[in-house]
Amino acid sequence: MTNQIILTIDGQQVEAEQGAILLDVARENGIDIPTICFHEATTANALCRICVVEVEGQRVLQPSCIVRAGAGMKVQTRSEKVIRARRTILEMLASTMDLSESTEIQHMMYEYGASSSRFPDAQRRESQVKDDNPMYVRDYSKCLLCWRCVQVCAEDAQYTFAINFDGRGFETQIGTFFDKKIPETSCVLCGQCVAVCPTGALKPKREFLLEQGMSAQEISVLNSGRKKRK
């Protein structure tokens, strides 16, 4: 028998299984909590903090993607404090990274009234597009360090461990060991990382080349080996 409990979310009494994840409980009851780093196929790590909620009796905001539901819990998903936190997170993201292909985050910014020029002097995290393998390109200017790619490369799917966090603090980036080119790492080119990337930082090579203005025909000729790529 499962242990059912009652808690309150946004004034609404809801029933849940003891220990269920708060985000799931909210969504099951039609209450929308935004997420960015959370993905159904990866382990939640509460990195981006966009899913924070206010829990009565807790000093700080709680990330709903990892916090578990308890009996009698009183949760607010849209309190002023929550809205302000989410808006600030979005503004910080917008001031440091390229969100041009993150349509969901763009929608959130609109919804939360976040301004991309809130921190005009912020240093941007910019880097060159890494095009070092035949299957996908990596544009870390668009990376928000959600960690999904690292997780699916590790125990969440592939057990390949080709990529990980590299550097510290502001300098943190996803990288390979000793900065090796992808084909020379343990990477099996499965593209699980591409599949879970929320911002377009990881992209199939073919899609990238099409965006660069090559025609599908030209790309096929390229692949046929007639034109040697370096």
């Binding site: 159904e40 196929a41 041009s100 292909e101 349509t103 393998n133 035949p134 299957m135 996908y136 699916v152 125990e155 799917a157 592939q158 057990y159 390949t160 090796k180 084909p183 020379e184 790492t185 343990s186 990477c187 099996v188 080119l189 499965c190 593209g191 699980q192 591409v194 599949a195 377009g200 199939p204 090579k205 073919r206 899609e207 099409l210 965006e211 599908a216 025909q217 790309i219 096929s220 000729v221 692949n223 046929s224 080996g225 007639r226 790529r229």
Partner: protein, 745 residues
């Protein structure tokens, strides 16, 4: 960011896992592949082939116009057999043949390829097949079906040959991959597929992986195996001559010499018996032949097995105990079991283990041959085998014949009761008085048969060869007619994956150029033949592939309850006997199709060829992650950039003795042929064993392999032959500039 015009849900065309794909299409081109995360088969995960390997569809070398040899247009029917230019002009495999353009022939000869229209090509095909059939009869006709094509395509192709030409000379590459397993399972259980689904691996407490490099050949099943070990506490035992990637996750690795399966598994059986670890209730209630079997085990002591296989006796004991004492244990196996001249016996040895312990007929247990091709299970189900109609109904049983005669509008007694020839036999019978006309849909025997120099001689002997394919393959280069067909992305139908799940295949866009879908080509050829022969029609006027599946399901009870409507989102796992039946993920829960499971006493028969001073290494062949079989898909894809050359794997100890360094060019020579390729020095292979993948035309591993056959299953011995390795010059390499530089294991 590209917005797709549409997203098409379909099934992966590569391996037997049957991953669900979403093809993102823009301007009639696929530009991205994703997979739904709620997919029951692959949970959103894909491998490099499934996610990125679709671009062969757009390769400039794809043939999309029907072609015939010039002599056929000039009305000189016999010239293909004469010296004016003929099949013998097909390019040689090997050194200097790096993906040659097989279209290039001498334009001044009657053997030149000429582009033509469909009507002409189809008429010429029908005319010549009829001419030969009328002259030489049913036994001169043969067909290779295709484990890449859909169930519907395959069903129609065997229907054409059985119903019109009245021959059972129908086979496909199942003969080259799991024929040993299929025959063994049929003898012992009466069925011939995985008993459980691959996703049940996470329910195993202990599982054996043997003769399967799962990480490279069924990558998504390997992920589930790793998950079972790392997250569900399962213990994995790897029994394989190669130190495959899964060994990193295994509790034990038993590195046996190629071709010594029977002694190792039989010794495990002896340990289980002697130590009282059997399941007497299961043996009593569900099996037969136990007493004969235990007598046969006497000689298989672990020490005897150690002597033959090189696996320490103590490890054999430990593995046997682990498997026998588990609550739920399963066996997963691949070609390392079946591709031997005693492949049937090897699979029977595994089946004996499951019967002894009762690890079958429950969830999380089972006997699970991992099928190679996306639709090799389906093509076999569709009767593309010389001994069976669809649904594994024996062709020499008159009752079965009557059922299909009714379905195909054939006079009573019209269908042949004579067993047909197998894949390898079809070619070895290609001579005057034997097979004269061969129709090949999608297969590439000039890469995939053993002993290719011999295969070539047989191909040259054919009088008329039809190639229905998407590329001018090494085999199509021998053909008289080329019928341009469609890859998975351009057709509708169904594939049946390794765990018997029948899933939809959907067209992402229209066929390129004048290419046509296979089932329509077959219907058009068949109707033209019937008209020329003046016989009643077996029916070929389908408007949609679903009608074809329904026709087959009306006679084959396994598929009786499968309709396209029922598999819109999720595939159904056959047997599905009725329209409301939910499918059967676990087989044999109550009984075996043959009643009781039959133990088989076994003998150790060594591989046909053993090492000697002249040929001191055992060669074993297989595949790599980035490529597929004969390479007509993957070598015409960006996958080839990821892995552009053939390599022979040599163990560091052997390399040192022979003074070979990593990357050196070497010649590998067997009694049948030789290839030149670079060496990878690696502990992935064991001492005395070298490994070559068979994808690469410039160093075709099958020039070396032995065409010795298993007596029951007729499967060739790809997994063990004797070779020598010696240094070669860089300029002898097929493509000296292509260098693999990969860090993956």
């Amino acid at each position: 960011m590209i917005k797709p015009d549409r997203i098409v849900t379909t099934t992966c065309p590569y391996c037997g896992v049957g991953c669900n794909l979403q093809l993102h299409v823009k301007d009639e081109h696929i530009f991205k592949v994703t997979s739904p995360f709620d997919s029951p088969v692959n949970h959103g995960n894909l491998c490099v082939k499934g996610r990125f390997g679709y671009d062969y569809v757009y390769h400039p070398k794809r043939v999309t116009t029907p072609m015939v040899r010039r002599y056929l247009l000039e009305g000189n029917k016999e010239i293909g057999n004469q010296g004016l230019g003929n099949r013998k002009d097909a390019p040689e495999l090997g050194r200097n043949s790096l993906i040659p353009n097989y279209l290039i022939t001498n334009p001044s000869t009657p053997w030149d390829w000429v582009e033509t229209d469909w009507d002409t090509a189809l008429n010429i095909t029908a005319e010549n097949l009829v001419r030969i059939y009328k002259r030489d009869g049913s036994d001169a006709m043969a067909v290779y079906a295709c484990a890449k094509a859909t169930n519907e395509d395959n069903y129609l192709l065997q229907k054409m040959y059985r119903a019109i030409f009245r021959t059972n000379n129908v086979d496909h590459c199942t003969r080259l991959c799991h024929a040993g397993s299929v025959v063994a399972l049929q003898q012992a259980t009466g069925s011939s597929a995985m008993s459980n689904t691959a996703s049940q691996v996470i329910q195993n407490d202990v599982f054996i992986v043997t003769g399967s490099n799962t990480s490279e050949n069924h990558p998504i099943i390997a992920l589930q195996m790793k998950e079972a070990v790392r997250q569900h506490g399962a213990k994995m035992i790897v029994i394989d001559p190669r130190r495959i990637e899964l060994v990193d996750f295994a509790e034990m690795w038993l590195p046996l010499k190629p071709g010594t399966n029977v002694p190792v598994f039989s010794a495990m059986a002896q340990v289980i018996l002697k130590e009282g670890l059997t399941n007497p209730e299961f043996i009593q209630n569900r099996t037969e032949g136990f007493n004969d079997f235990i007598e046969s085990l006497d000689k298989f002591t672990p020490e005897y097995a150690e002597e033959i296989s090189g696996v320490p006796a103590e490890d054999i004991r430990k593995a046997a105990r682990m498997y026998a004492t588990a609550k739920k244990a399963a066996i997963y196996w691949g070609m390392g079991i079946s591709q031997l001249s005693h492949g049937t016996a090897s699979a029977l040895a595994l089946i004996n283990l499951a019967f002894l312990t009762g690890h079958i007929g429950r969830e999380g247990t089972g006997l699970n041959p991992l099928r190679g091709q996306n639709n090799v299970q389906g093509a076999s189900d569709m009767g593309c085998m010389p001994f069976h109609y669809p649904g594994y109904m024996r062709v020499d049983n008159p009752d079965n014949r009557t059922k299909w005669e009714k379905a195909w509008n054939i006079e009573p007694g019209g269908l042949s009761l004579k067993l047909g020839l197998t894949t390898t036999e079809i070619l070895s019978h290609a001579h005057e008085g034997g097979i004269r006309a061969l129709y090949i849909m999608g297969e590439n025997p000039m890469m995939s048969e053993p002993n290719l120099n011999e295969t070539r001689k047989h191909m040259e002997q054919l009088e008329f060869l039809v190639a229905q394919d998407i590329f001018m393959t090494e085999s199509a280069a021998f053909a008289d007619v080329f019928l341009p067909a469609t890859p998975f992305a351009e057709k509708d139908g169904t594939f049946s994956n390794t765990d018997r799940r029948v899933q939809r295949v959907r067209a992402a866009h229209a066929p390129r150029g004048q290419a046509r879908v296979d089932w329509q080509i077959i219907c058009d050829v068949a109707q033209r033949i019937e008209t020329k022969l003046g016989v009643d029609s077996a029916y070929w006027k389908y408007s949609h592939p679903e009608e074809i599946l329904r026709e087959m399901g009306s006679v084959n009870p396994d598929y009786a309850g499968i309709t396209y409507e029922r598999i819109v989102k999720l595939g159904l796992i056959y047997p599905v006997p009725t329209l409301t039946h939910p499918g059967t993920p676990t087989l044999f829960t109550e009984s075996f199709p043959r009643g009781r499971g039959k133990f088989h006493p076994l003998d150790y028969v060594p591989a046909m060829e053993s090492v000697d001073d002249e040929f001191p290494f055992i060669l074993t062949t297989g595949r790599v992650l980035e490529h597929w079989h004969g390479g007509s898909m993957t070598r015409n894809s960006s996958l080839n950039e990821a892995y552009p050359e053939a390599r022979v794997e040599v163990h560091p100890a052997d390399a040192e003795i022979h003074g070979i360094r990593n990357g050196d060019p070497v010649t590998v020579k067997s009694r049948r042929g030789e290839v030149v390729l670079r060496v990878t020095v690696t502990e992935k292979t064991s001492v005395g064993v070298v490994f070559i993948p068979f994808h690469f035309v410039e160093a075709a591993a099958n020039l070396l392999t032995n065409d010795a056959l298993d007596p029951q299953a007729k499967i060739p011995e790809f997994k063990a032959c004797a070779v020598q390795v010696f240094p070669a010059r860089k300029k002898d390499l097929g493509n000296p500039n292509a260098v693999v530089n990969r860090g993956r294991y």
